[in-house]
Each structure stands twice: as C-alpha cells, then as structure tokens.
Symmetry: C2
Subunit: 460 residues, 2 copies
C-alpha cells in the first residue's frame, strides 16, 4: 500500500492502479488471464517515467514495461511483486517532418496511428503487422518487430533513427537523432532495440519515413519444388530491382488448409504437391511497374520456376490473395496448435522440415504439420497441431522437434517474436556461451540491480 | 625486445615486425608519416589473434588494430608503446553462398576483392567507396563505412549479418549468423560495428549480398534553388520506387571548381547560381527502368523542380558524370583544404551553410568554401580552402565555424568517417553527457583495462 501511495504522490491519483485494479486487466490481447502486479503506473511524460524508475531503483522494485500487450512470448507478463509501467498515456505524435521524412513520437503511440498520421503527406511508415491497432511503437522497437515487408524495408531496427531511453536508475538518455548517417561513437540506440525492456525504457522515438508507393502488384504462383522456390526468389528479386516487398511461401498442407471450407477463401490455384508463393512489389510508377512485374513472371514461367500464376487485377483481388496467406487462424480449427517463428538459411530449409516431419511422426500419433512464412527473409512459421487438450502436455516434445534441428544449421529460435519467457529455455540453441556471457555483461552494466523486466530473455 | 621475442614465440618469426621494421611503413594510404609502434603482429587466424590479445591483456599492452589504413580520422595511428595488430594476412574469402546470398570472410579481405568475387554469381556486395582496393571489410565494419549508395543499400551496418570478434582478454565470440532476422536476445554485432577498434577485434564477418542490378541510369540536373533540391529528392525517390541509388548535390562553387580547367571535365550543364544534382537509379530491367527514369525527370521539369538535365546514354557518359562529382582533389589545387563530413537535417542545411559562410567571411581573409555531398542521406562534405601553409594554424577556427552550428540543428560531426583522434574534441557537439557516459560504461565493461585502441573516440 505504501508503494501505491508513494507512486500516487509522485504521479497523481489517476496515474496509478493498485493490485486489485490491475487484476481486472487481461494479460494480453490474445490472453484473457488476469494480470498480476504490485501496481500499474501510467506516466504521461519522460520525466514521470524517470521519477518512477528512480523510485524503484532506490528500493529494488522490479519494473515490467508494457506497450500494447500484443507480444507473443510473454515478455510483458509481471508477477505480484513487480510494478507494471504502462506507456498507454504517452500517445503524442510530436512531429512529422515531411522534408526530412522523420516522425518524432512518444513510445505509446500505436503503429496504426503513425501509419495513418503520415499518409496525408504521401509518406509511409513501412512496418506493418496484424496487431497494428494495438501494438505500440515503443513495443515495436523494444522487440525489434518484423512483419510483412522486411524484405523491402527491413525490421523495426532499420526504421529507428534515434531513441530517448530512461535507464534503470531514472537517468534520461536523449539519443534522439533525426539522421540516417551518424558515426559519432557507439550507436547507442542499437543496444535498446530488441532488448525486450531489459536494458531501459524507451520513451520517445525518431523514426524514418519513406515515400508511399504508387504501385502495388500481387500474384500467387505455383512452384513445382523447393529448388524452384529458391530460384524464383532470386529471379524475382533481380527482375524487380528494389521493389520486391514480399515473398511468402506456403507448403502444400498449409495451402490446402486455408483454401478448404470452412476456411472462406477458395483456392486461386489448384492445391497440389508443389509450393504456392505470394509475390508482391511496391513501386513508384503504376504502368511501368506492372509491366515489369508481368515480364518477371513470364520469365519465371519460361525458366520453369513456376508452373502457374494468378495476378491480382484489383485492390479487392490483391487483398484476397493476402487473405489466404493471412488466414492463420485455420490452424486452430481441428485441434490445438503450437506456432513457431524460426529462421534458418534457405539452403537448409528442406532438410530441416524433413527432420521435423520425421521426428513428429516417430513420436506423436495424431498431429498435423503446417509450414508457411516470409521465405524471402529466411523466416518460417512452423505449426504443429495436436488434438484439443493435448497441447500443454505435448509442447515440450514438440518444441524439441522444432528447435533442436536448428543447431546444425545455425538457425534462430526466434526470427521476429523475441525470447521473453516463452523461449528462454531454448535460447542456447541459437546463442553460444560467449554470446550469452556478453549479454549478461551488458545487462549488469545497464541494470546492476536487475530491476528491468528480470527473467526475460535469460534467467535473472 | 622481450615482447617482440614473446610474440615471435607465439606466432612465428614472420608474423612479427619490430619497431624498426614498423617505422618503414607509412601511417596511412594518404599519410606518408612513418608509423611508430612497439611492434606489429600479423596473425593468420582468429586463434592467433586470440593468443595475441590474451598476451597483451595479461601485461596491459595497448593494441591498435589496423586494416587497409584508409581511415580518415587517425583511428589507426599507434604510439611507440602500443602494439599494432594488422589483419593483412587474414584475407581468405571462406564461402560465397549464392542461394542464401551470404559471404563469409576473414576481416582482412579487401572490399574490392569481395566485390569481384561475388560478381560471377550475379551478386553484388553493395558497399562502395574510393578506397575499395585497400580498405578491408573488417575496417569497413569497425568504422561503419558509408559511401556512394547508402540511400539504396544502407551503410556497412546494414550489410553485416554476423561477426566473429576477439575481446580484449582474448575471448573469441562467434556471433556469426547468416540470418536476416534473428531476435534471440541482444544483437551483439551492433555493438562492434562502428566502434573503431575500441571494443574488440573483428576477425570474421558474414555479409549480406544483393542481386546485381541489370539497369543503371544516371543524369545530372540543374535545380534552381534549395527548395527545388529537396522537392526533387522526394519526387525522384517516390517516382523511382525502390531504385534510387544516389542523390549527390553540388553547390555552385564546387560545380564551377570541378568543371573549370585545370580540372579535366567540361561542364555538362552551364555553371550558374543553382544547384547541380547527380541522380542515379539501379534496377532490374533496362528498358522499363530507363523509361521510368526519363518519365521521372520529365515530371520534375514539369513541376519546375529542375531547369535542365543531361542524361547519360552510355557507360562512358555515366562514368563521366560521376567523375565530375568525384574530382574532389580539385579542392587542393589553389590552396590547402580542410574537408568535413557532417550530417544534419535537410531542412536545416541552407541556414547551416549560410552560417558557415558568414562565420568564415568574418574571421578569415583569403579562403574558399566548397560544398557537395550525399544529400539524399543528409550527409554534406564541407570544404574550406585557405592559402598554402596556413591550414595548420587556421584549422581550429575553421573547425569551430563548421562544427558549432551543428549543435542547434542536432547535426553530426561525422556522418561516415568516424571520430578517431581527429574529431574527438568535437564529439560533444553531437553527443550529450548521458550518451558519452553510456559509451564509457560499455567501454569499461568490454575492455576494463582499456587496452583496445585507447584514446580513440574519447579520451582514455
């Protein structure tokens, strides 16, 4: 109670929820479990965040920073003796500079709010993901979000020009710089991007904006085998110059699933044993880009890289092709599914999927394996479905089958979702002892008392 | 002598030069001053680098790592009591994977060697700069090199997928990962890229390769005023979709200098009071890209953003237009010049140049101011020429006139060259106390004895 009162003194009555009020909140957008915490504070400014951190640092109180609660690895979960620091009231878009093409925002601004705010200036904030309406830009930076257009625009890391961060002891570090090039010593912002709230609290960001594309071409194509898929990636990337924006591959089982009732999308191409690829290009000139897109597809046909193609002619058709790829909820219709987010060298993918398939067949009776993903950037979503009620008990064995084969090919247990609590046990698959030691050294330097999101990424 | 003998025991006779032998070497490609050092070691493997570092760490011997000696800020300069660690014998291109589009190299491989090695596979390593024949990839990473095509492909940081680093105490950290997406904890490679040899020795790299462009369009255009220049940047970026690769602006005095004899290039456009811009596009389809490039220029004419344009028709003409922009040595023909490498928001550039001009006119008698640069990424090269023999004495006042106005617009004293010794005094212009404190904390964590390139970036 003292702590709640202290915090109310520091930030005002309405800024603090006590433990009972916190328990009325869900743990996440997709997780109705009630939250648990000592209290929850909702500062409105960097200065208030600093006061909270200084208070907690002095008393050794752990702090879990929350954005839009859309994370998928339980990175935002607090326990009853931790304080939640929510940035939900730091939602000011401070400036959009259309000449420098930079936005300055508070960390609680949602991704969608920024996307919409820059559109009238003919600009694009290119990060995009399904949770755009809830996910915050601070959270996107803290988790280095990926999404649908990494192949063209990079991940969140590539869009952050500068950050303001509050350190564990309340020190405000203003590393806001609106510059694309700035080689003046260590690039501090890189330390905090992707650190999942364990090194500091991101309070404000300067973000790079791009010109909004004028052309948008989408096709779904059929590739007879995996070497055709990899050949097609190179062919399209080369032929489309800098405009290839998505290269999403669906393995046959996934494609059949999302184009068979009760899924509401019909198959634009017949389901068969090959691969389906959604290819997208975003460019600056509608006619020239469309001609080039069609020519690239014709070239792929001529080279035998694809056997069939459907090219969207309208916005509705473009959305329709994407809807097939995005209908991931079908993996839950006939059972419970574990969804993974791995990345690995493209050259190792066929063997990797074969190993998972063989492993699962040897150890599980009823199950299904679905594979799809952002193949253009090496990121696969592997989905293992088991009968309802069995997932909790089978999860450890499923995780072992999915993660262990990554060791040999130097793959990653998390391409984009992060580690949080969910994958902590599996981090050594992707990171060796020397790397983990360096991470811990950094953590000790920036957060010597270990109060920032302790236990996330690695054990406290 | 003991140290030289010890090192010869560790690495073999031919791997170690003593102080006398070191003094036969020049300090840099453009600096004939003899080098000074305790000794110079030339390991051939990561394991040998590790042995050298462990030896030096135990004895508190400072180590200056050298690549191709093409740095411009004296970051590679050692003193008589420091050991030089040269990566000149670590020149193995270990693997080029044309499907994953990743190269694995030792740090001493030159930029040009890699560029040439990937070309037969239809691939491009997109970093490019004048010193490509000498500059090493390890040095490029340690200094986060920029160059001519940052607007399209980013800086060296954006091309590094993974690194192997030897720490101050000899620990080898294998953070080689061939993945575009890898959110498994802190992104360690980011700490070392741009750290100028002060945090570790980069020994091997995994680098991202791109598809080689099939089209190459270059034009030089005249823009009547600075707002036309900024409008043109947005117009071309938007119209060319993802293919704009260079946007190089020349202020009138620079353009006149490099197109007037004894400079050997004739002016393709008449010299006048406006700005000249070199625009380049690299794409995937010769005909379609050329048509789009011409249409974009026509649109710029229609909108009054440009008053004139020359479009190169042949490779020879393309090289000819670049040669004008690249003829920087003309700034030395009538005097001695200080060349700066700043970046700042585009919106602040006109006022910034005006302030420099006014400041120089008030305090120097005979001088010339030339401005040009990579405006597309906010990076300007400011050149101040004074009569021969006067630069050494005038440099402090010139630096003050160029650097101090950057404070108000949050500009950077180094867009791409780095800090080294050269700009150390001016680092506080671009970095505040909290940032500098964080940098020092990182330095103390990774190099507690302060033996790695001490005194570079900030004072030891």
């Amino acid at each position: 109670m003292n702590i709640v009162n202290d915090l109310r003194q520091l930030l005002g009555e309405g800024a603090v929820l006590d433990a009972a009020e916190v328990s009325e909140r869900a743990s996440g957008i997709w997780d109705p479990t009630p939250q648990s915490a000592l209290a929850l504070v909702r500062p409105v400014s960097t200065e208030e965040v600093s006061r909270v951190m200084a208070y907690c640092h002095e008393r050794g109180i752990s702090v879990v920073t929350q954005g839009g609660l859309t994370g998928l690895v339980r990175g935002q979960i607090a326990t009853a003796n931790q304080l939640v620091l929510s940035l939900e009231r730091m939602r000011v878009i401070e400036q959009i500079d259309p000449i420098q093409r930079v936005a300055t925002v508070q960390a609680g601004v949602t991704l969608q709010a920024l996307q919409e705010a820059v559109a009238p200036a003919g600009l694009l904030f290119p990060l995009d993901l399904g949770a755009r309406g809830s996910a915050t830009l601070g959270g996107n930076a803290a988790t280095n979000a990926g999404g649908n257009r990494v192949i063209r625009y990079g991940m969140m890391r590539d869009m952050v020009l500068g950050l303001e961060v509050v350190l564990a002891d309340g020190t405000i570090v203003d590393a806001l710089h609106p510059l694309i090039k700035n080689n003046t010593g260590y690039d501090l912002k890189q330390w905090f991007v992707g650190s999942e709230g364990t090194l500091g609290v991101i309070t404000r960001l300067q973000l790079r904006l791009r010109e909004a594309p004028a052309s948008h071409d989408v096709a779904m194509v059929a590739a007879p085998d995996f070497s055709a898929v990899t050949g097609l990636l190179r062919h399209m990337d080369r032929s489309l110059g800098g405009t290839l924006s998505a290269f999403e591959v669906m393995w046959p089982e996934f494609y059949a699933l999302v184009t068979t009732p009760p899924a509401k999308n019909a198959p634009p191409l017949p389901p068969d044993l090959g691969f389906k690829v959604l290819v997208e290009s975003l460019g600056g000139d509608r006619e020239a880009d469309n001609a080039r897109f069609l020519a690239a597809l014709e070239g792929a046909l001529d080279e035998g890289l694809i056997s069939d193609a459907v090219v969207a002619q309208t916005d509705r058709e473009r959305s329709g092709l994407w809807a097939i790829r995005d209908d991931v909820e079908q993996v839950g219709r006939d059972g419970e599914s574990a969804i993974f987010d791995v990345s690995l060298p493209i050259t190792a993918m066929e063997v990797y999927i074969h190993r998972i398939r063989a492993g699962l067949e040897a150890s599980l009776t009823t199950h299904q394996l679905f594979v799809f993903g952002h193949l253009g950037d090496g990121n696969l979503h592997v989905v293992v479905q088991v009968p309802r009620g069995q997932l909790a008990s089978l999860r450890p064995i499923i995780e072992a089958h999915v993660y262990e084969p990554l060791i040999d090919c130097r793959g990653s247990v998390s391409a984009e979702h992060g580690i949080g609590l969910e994958k902590r046990e599996w981090l050594p698959v992707s990171r060796n002892k020397a790397e983990l030691a360096l991470m811990r050294a950094m953590k000790s330097t920036l957060d010597p008392k270990g109060i920032l999101n302790p236990g996330k990424i690695f054990e406290a």
